[in-house]
C-alpha cells in the first residue's frame, strides 16, 4: 500500500483529504445540533454554481466557489432573521435555485473540459498542488476561528433563543459560523463532490452522537470517524477505481451502522 505514496496525485489527495476530514465534522457538529443539517448540501450546490462561474470568468474555481458560498450563507442567515422566512424553506430555495443557475452556467461552458462527474462525486485525480495549498490555508483559518470561538459557537448553537436574550452578539456569531461553514463546504468539494459533502458533514457526527458523552468528546469521535472514512475511502477508490466521494461516504455509512449496533448493546 505504501507504494501509493510515490504518486504525487495520491500525496496531494491525502493532504487535502485529511484537512477535509477535520473540517467537515467540526462544522457538522454545529449544524446538526441546530437542526441545520441540510445547510452543507445547500451550500455545496451554491459552490457548484460558483465553480461554473469561475470557469466562465476564467478565475480560480475554488476561490469562486468559496466566495459565492460565503455570500449565500450570509444572505440565508439575514433572510432567516430579518425576513423571518423558515430556515428549511430558505435552504430549499437556495439548493434548487443554485442548482438551476449551475445547470444554466455549465451549459454555457460546453467548450471547457470540466469533468462534471468529478465535481459531483469527488475525484482525487483532479486535486492540483494549488488546490492543496488553498484547502490547507483556508482550512486552517476555519479550524483556527472555531478553536478561538468554540464556546461562543456552542453557546449560540445550543439555544438561539437564550443566546438572543443574553445580549451576546448572537446574530453576528451566527453569520460568522455560517460563513465558515460555506468555506469548509466549498473546500471539501474537490474530495467528496457536490452531492456528497453534506453526507461527510453529517454522518460522522450522527454516528459520534450515539457514543459521545459530551460535546467535545462527540466532536473528537466525529473527526476520528471522518478521518477513517476519508483515508480508507481514498485508498479503496484508488485501488478499485471507484468514485472517491461515494466510497468515502459508504465507509462513513458503515461506521454509522456500527455505532447504532454498539449503542444498542450498551
Amino acid at each position: 500500500m505504501l507504494e501509493l505514496f510515490q504518486f504525487d496525485f495520491m500525496v496531494r489527495a491525502l493532504g487535502a483529504g485529511l484537512m477535509v476530514a477535520f473540517l467537515a465534522p467540526v462544522i457538522g457538529m454545529f449544524l446538526v445540533v441546530r437542526r441545520y443539517s441540510l445547510m452543507a448540501d445547500t451550500l455545496a450546490h451554491v459552490a457548484l454554481a460558483g465553480i461554473a462561474m469561475g470557469i466562465i470568468l476564467q478565475v480560480y474555481t475554488i476561490a469562486a466557489a468559496v466566495a459565492l458560498s460565503v455570500g449565500a450563507a450570509v444572505l440565508i442567515e439575514i433572510l432567516r432573521v430579518r425576513w423571518k422566512i423558515f430556515g428549511e424553506s430558505l435552504l430549499a430555495i437556495f439548493l434548487s435555485g443554485s442548482l438551476a443557475i449551475a445547470a444554466v452556467l455549465l451549459s454555457v461552458t460546453k467548450g471547457f473540459q470540466i469533468g462534471l462527474f468529478g465535481l459531483l462525486f469527488g475525484s482525487i485525480a483532479t486535486v492540483s498542488q494549488t488546490d492543496v495549498y488553498v484547502i490547507l490555508g483556508f482550512g486552517t483559518l476555519v479550524l483556527g476561528t472555531i478553536f478561538l470561538l468554540y464556546k461562543e459557537f456552542l453557546f449560540v448553537s445550543l439555544d438561539q433563543e437564550f443566546a438572543q436574550v443574553s445580549g451576546r452578539k448572537a446574530r453576528i456569531l451566527n453569520i460568522v459560523l455560517m460563513a465558515l461553514t460555506a468555506m469548509a463546504v466549498a473546500l471539501s468539494i474537490r474530495i467528496v463532490g457536490v452531492l456528497l459533502v453534506g453526507a461527510l458533514t453529517v454522518i460522522p457526527v450522527i454516528a459520534a452522537m450515539q457514543l459521545g458523552r459530551s460535546f467535545l468528546q462527540t466532536m473528537g469521535l466525529a473527526v476520528l470517524f471522518s478521518l477513517l472514512s476519508v483515508i480508507s475511502g481514498i485508498f479503496l477508490s484508488y485501488s478499485y477505481d471507484l468514485a472517491t466521494g461515494g466510497t468515502i461516504v459508504v465507509v462513513a455509512l458503515a461506521i454509522f451502522i456500527l455505532s447504532l449496533l454498539v449503542k444498542g448493546k450498551r
Binding site: 461562543e152 459521545g212 462527540t218
Partner: protein, 254 residues
C-alpha cells in the same frame, strides 16, 4: 428592599399588524419578589415577556431594569432566562450538564476570552444551588424532564442574574414532578433570595405558589398579592366566566 425597582414597566403598549396586543401595562418587580404572570393563550404573555427581556421594544411606554432603560439589542445581564423548551424531550444535544451550565457564563466573558477560576466557581455554585452537581457529567438528553429543567435553570443562574424568568416551565413535566419543582422554586426564592418571574397559563397551580400575580389579557386585569384572590376569581377575571374547581388526581389544569 432597594428603592429602585429591579424591573419597572410603565404604560407599555404593543401592536402586531395594526392589532393592539398590549395596552397600558404597568407594574414593578422588587428584589425578592416571586411574580406569576397569568393569561390565556393569545393574551399577550409572550409579547410582554419579549419586551421585558429586551427582544422587542415597546411601541408605547418604557421598560427599566435597575433604573436603566432596557433597549432591544442591549445588555441583558439583569435577566436569567429559562425558555419554554427547556424540559422538552426533543432536546437531543450531546452536551453534558456542565457544558450546558458553562454556556450560561459565556455572555459574561469578552470575545475570545477563556473561562477563569471565578467563572468555573460560578458554574459549580449554580449547579449546587439547584442540586444537580452530581449530574454534571451526565448528558442533558439522558436526564428526566425535571432534572433537565433544573439544568437550564442552573445555566440561567450561572450568569449571576438579578431576575430569573421562566416561561411555561412545566410543559412536559409530570404532575408529581411539578409539585417538587414548585417547592424547589419556592426555595430558590425564599432561601437563596432569587427574584423570580414565572409566566404560565396554569391558574390552578400557580395561584398557590407565587407571592404576587399579574393577570393579563392584552391589558392588566389584576396585579397584586396572590392571597387576595381565590382561584375562582382569577379564572373569572381571565376568562370572564364563573367556574367551579373539582379536585382531580392526574391533572392540575383549570
Amino acid at each position: 428592599m432597594s428603592s429602585v425597582p429591579l424591573l419597572e414597566l410603565q404604560n407599555v403598549g404593543f401592536w402586531y399588524n395594526g392589532r393592539q396586543v398590549l395596552k397600558g401595562v404597568s407594574f414593578q418587580v422588587q428584589e425578592g419578589d416571586y411574580l406569576g404572570i397569568l393569561g390565556p393563550n393569545g393574551s399577550g404573555k409572550t409579547t410582554l415577556l419579549k419586551i421585558m427581556l429586551g427582544i422587542l421594544s415597546p411601541q408605547e411606554g418604557s421598560v427599566r431594569a435597575r433604573g436603566k432603560e432596557v433597549l432591544a439589542g442591549g445588555d441583558f445581564s439583569v435577566f436569567g432566562y429559562v425558555p419554554q423548551h427547556a424540559s422538552h424531550a426533543e432536546f437531543r444535544f450531546p452536551v453534558t450538564v456542565r457544558e450546558l451550565v458553562s454556556s450560561g457564563r459565556v455572555p459574561q466573558l469578552p470575545l475570545f476570552g477563556r473561562f477563569k477560576d471565578a467563572d468555573r466557581k460560578m458554574v459549580e455554585q449554580s449547579m449546587r444551588t439547584v442540586g444537580i452537581l452530581e449530574l454534571q457529567n451526565r448528558r442533558v438528553d439522558d436526564l428526566s424532564g425535571g432534572e433537565r429543567q433544573k439544568a437550564f435553570i442552573a445555566r440561567a443562574l450561572a450568569g449571576n442574574p438579578k431576575i430569573l424568568i421562566l416561561d411555561e416551565p412545566l410543559t412536559g413535566v409530570d404532575t408529581a414532578s411539578q409539585e417538587l419543582f414548585y417547592d424547589f422554586l419556592r426555595d430558590l426564592n425564599e432561601v437563596f433570595r432569587i427574584t423570580i418571574i414565572l409566566v404560565s397559563h396554569d391558574v390552578d397551580v400557580l395561584a398557590q405558589q407565587v407571592k404576587s400575580i399579574l393577570c393579563l389579557r392584552h391589558e392588566l386585569l389584576y396585579y397584586g398579592s396572590s392571597s387576595d384572590l381565590t382561584k375562582e376569581e382569577l379564572v373569572e377575571k381571565l376568562y370572564g366566566s364563573k367556574v367551579k374547581f373539582f379536585p382531580h388526581k392526574e391533572n392540575h389544569h383549570a
